[in-house]
């Protein structure tokens, strides 16, 4: 299992479209992936879980992955967040 802190730099935080992009990408990996924010841990492949977290802009979340492709998963998700989810 590995973890990585990821900064969310989007204007509105992890709102609908970034969350959609995040879940879509996370779902491509075989590993179990979780997102931890303010002490709450949710399945990163669940859009509903991600939305109710309401991650604020400028905050840091922890991405946790466990499985055969955990390294690749964490790196890709971090890159997606750095690229502002290809939205802005």
């Amino acid at each position: 299992m590995i973890t990585k802190n990821v900064k969310i730099i989007n204007k509105h935080g992890l709102h609908t479209r970034p969350a959609t992009a995040f879940v879509t990408l996370a779902s491509r990996f075989k590993s179990d992936i979780f997102l931890i924010y303010n002490g709450v841990r949710v399945n990163a492949k669940s859009i509903l879980g991600l939305l109710v977290l309401a991650v604020e802009p400028g905050s840091t979340v922890t991405v946790e992955a466990d499985g055969v492709d955990e390294v690749e998963a964490v790196e890709s998700l971090d890159k997606l967040a750095q690229n502002k989810f290809n939205l802005e």
Binding site: H15, I47, L48, E56
Partner: protein
């Protein structure tokens, strides 16, 4: 006493208590499910999720094809949420733990997500509850044969107050308990408006003081005078009593007598009905009417928030034809104009957008041949159960009719080779409602059996006006009458029939103008039917025709209006 003014969407007058329609306040009864039934109950859920996903994928493809990736992405969040693995797991666990039905469990789980969203810090996230409600509605359709989990239950006859009414709200509310409707937003020509008139529910819109009304006891909704009365004395109430009673009687009787089939001077006249729902048709007595001049098939999609499959369509068309016992039924192929498409999608975020203007009509269907082909197959299969006619909406070019006919022939060949029967006597017509088709009427007439004039859109094309604005004043515009005369002449020349199916035909003054120009066949909403029938039976067609030259030579709507109004007052009152 206080009077509030609004805009009339559907006529009538009623009094009663208020029911504030708040979306999402629905409870689903839970009942016991034994272990032995768990698997089949949960399988029902999986199937519902799969079907909802398929529908939404079709919607996404349509949006992607006709708009762009940006808009399709709006749907992606719903697509992901509808099959969210945590949600599905939670539903399963709750069912197992409480030993209860899946619909109950699904609502519990979704409501929990809604509550969590509402607790978030930002409006941005709070508003996502609308997506959750959309999803819930879609899944619930596939879970239940009943429609009663979509809107709050009304317990006594009430006047419904809401911010807005979507067409699907209007379909699903309990009509027996809905006395009237008041909303903040809504237009005369909106589809909710058309439905309210079809169901004869008085409806006033553009009311800004919804909050004030919500706390009222009994109110009087006088849609005829565009007024809402509150805090009134018993004396005031008594003074309205007889009008309210008359309206109730009028609403209760569907059609009092046989619809007129000729005018006063014996000239044959056809009065058909516009309909959009199977339920509406069920209330009609085929012995009293002449047939359905416009069946708006896209309302099936609005009802379902998806394009129904071939079998679902077939069943609906078949039922309509059987109910009409051999009377003509003109099915209009899907007309997904902007407003109807939004009504079908019923997705809040798309609603606010203005990019759907290019959608609609036969052009859209030819661009999406799979949708058109499925509909034609369903119509052909149903055609053996009655007098089926097919009409193409928003025709711009004669070529569109030729292409549709080619597809129709291909579908016939397919059915023939599979041994599926269909009627070989299906009439095909074109809606005349765009300005461009007015230039190729002669060519168009070669390919169809009838023209049907859609006056609402024709007014929009020729004069221009927002669809939600009151169009009545435009009916009298000289350009409209000149266009109608041109269409009548072209039809006569080609020896095909012509009919008017827009709202204009149910306007008593405009009806005189239409008749003067040679119209002898109209199709009106069932709400207008008995009034129109009475007017036609009092109309001297011969005398009316003498107005033709006068109307065609006038250059102002006001002048035409005066002439028609005078004729009405002198001859029909």
């Amino acid at each position: 006493m206080k009077k509030i003014k609004g805009v009339k969407i559907s006529p009538g007058i009623v009094s009663g208590p208020i029911f504030y329609l708040e979306r999402g306040k629905i409870s689903v009864p839970g009942h016991f499910i034994g272990d032995e039934d768990f698997d089949s109950e949960f399988e029902r859920f999986n199937t519902a999720v799969q079907k909802s996903k398929d529908e939404l994928t079709q919607v996404r493809d349509l949006v992607l094809d006709h708009l762009d990736e940006e808009h399709a992405r709006i749907i992606d969040v719903q697509l992901l949420a509808i099959q969210d693995e945590d949600m599905i797991k939670a539903v399963r666990e709750l069912m197992l733990r409480e030993k209860k039905n899946v619909t109950w469990a699904y609502f519990e789980v979704m409501e929990n997500y809604e509550k969590l969203l509402l607790k978030t810090y930002s409006q941005f996230f709070k508003e996502r509850t609308s997506d959750l409600k959309d999803i819930k509605k879609r899944v619930i359709h596939h879970l239940s044969y009943k429609k009663d989990f979509l809107l709050p239950e009304i317990f006594e006859p009430s006047i419904i107050i809401a911010e807005k009414m979507s067409p699907s709200d209007l379909i699903h509310i309990d009509h027996k308990l809905t006395l009237g409707i008041i909303t903040r937003y809504g237009g005369v020509d909106s589809h909710a408006g058309i439905l309210a008139r079809a169901f004869r529910v008085p409806y006033i819109s553009n009311i800004d003081v919804i909050d004030e009304l919500v706390s009222c006891g009994e109110i009087i909704l006088d849609a005829d005078n565009e007024t809402i009365l509150l805090d009134f004395t018993d004396d005031v109430k008594d003074s309205y009593k007889s009008r309210i009673r008359d309206f109730r009687r009028h609403r209760e009787k569907i059609i009092s007598g046989k619809v007129a089939n000729s005018a006063k001077d014996g000239t044959p006249y056809h009065i058909y009905i516009n309909a959009g729902f199977v339920d509406e048709v069920k209330a009609m007595n085929p012995a009293l009417i002449q047939g359905i001049g416009l069946f708006r098939t896209e309302f099936l999609c609005i009802e379902r928030n998806a394009i129904p499959g071939e079998d679902d369509q077939f069943k609906a068309y078949k039922e309509v034809l059987e109910r009409m016992k051999g009377l003509p039924v003109v099915f209009r192929a899907y007309d997904f104009g902007r407003d109807k498409l939004l009504a079908m999608l019923d997705i809040e975020l798309l609603r606010a957008d203005n990019l759907f203007d290019e959608w609609g009509g036969i052009g859209f269907l030819l661009d999406n041949p799979a949708i058109l082909k499925t509909q034609l197959r369903a119509l052909l299969r149903a055609s053996v159960y009655g007098n089926t006619q097919i009409m193409l909406p928003l025709v711009m070019f004669a070529e569109e009719v030729v292409l549709t006919k080619n597809m129709l022939e291909a579908v016939k060949a397919e059915l023939k080779s599979s041994g599926i029967p269909f009627s070989d006597n299906i009439k095909l017509g074109a809606m005349i409602e765009t300005s461009s088709v007015l230039d190729e009427l002669d060519e168009l007439a070669k390919h169809v059996d009838f023209f049907s004039i859609g006056t609402n859109d024709l007014a929009l094309y020729l004069i221009g006006s927002g669809r939600t604005l009151d169009l009545t004043k435009n009916y009298y515009h000289p350009k409209i009458f000149q266009a109608i005369y041109k269409i009548v002449k072209a039809a006569k020349k080609a020896g095909i029939s012509v009919n008017v199916c827009g709202e204009m035909a149910s306007d008593p003054y405009a009806l005189i103008g239409l008749t003067a120009l040679g119209i002898r066949s109209i199709s009106v909403s069932s709400a207008a039917l008995s009034a129109v029938s009475k007017e036609v039976s009092k109309l001297d067609v011969q005398k009316c025709s003498e107005l033709a030259d006068t109307i065609l030579n006038m250059d102002s709507a006001q002048a035409i209006y005066s002439v028609l109004k005078n004729f009405y007052q002198d001859n029909l009152e």
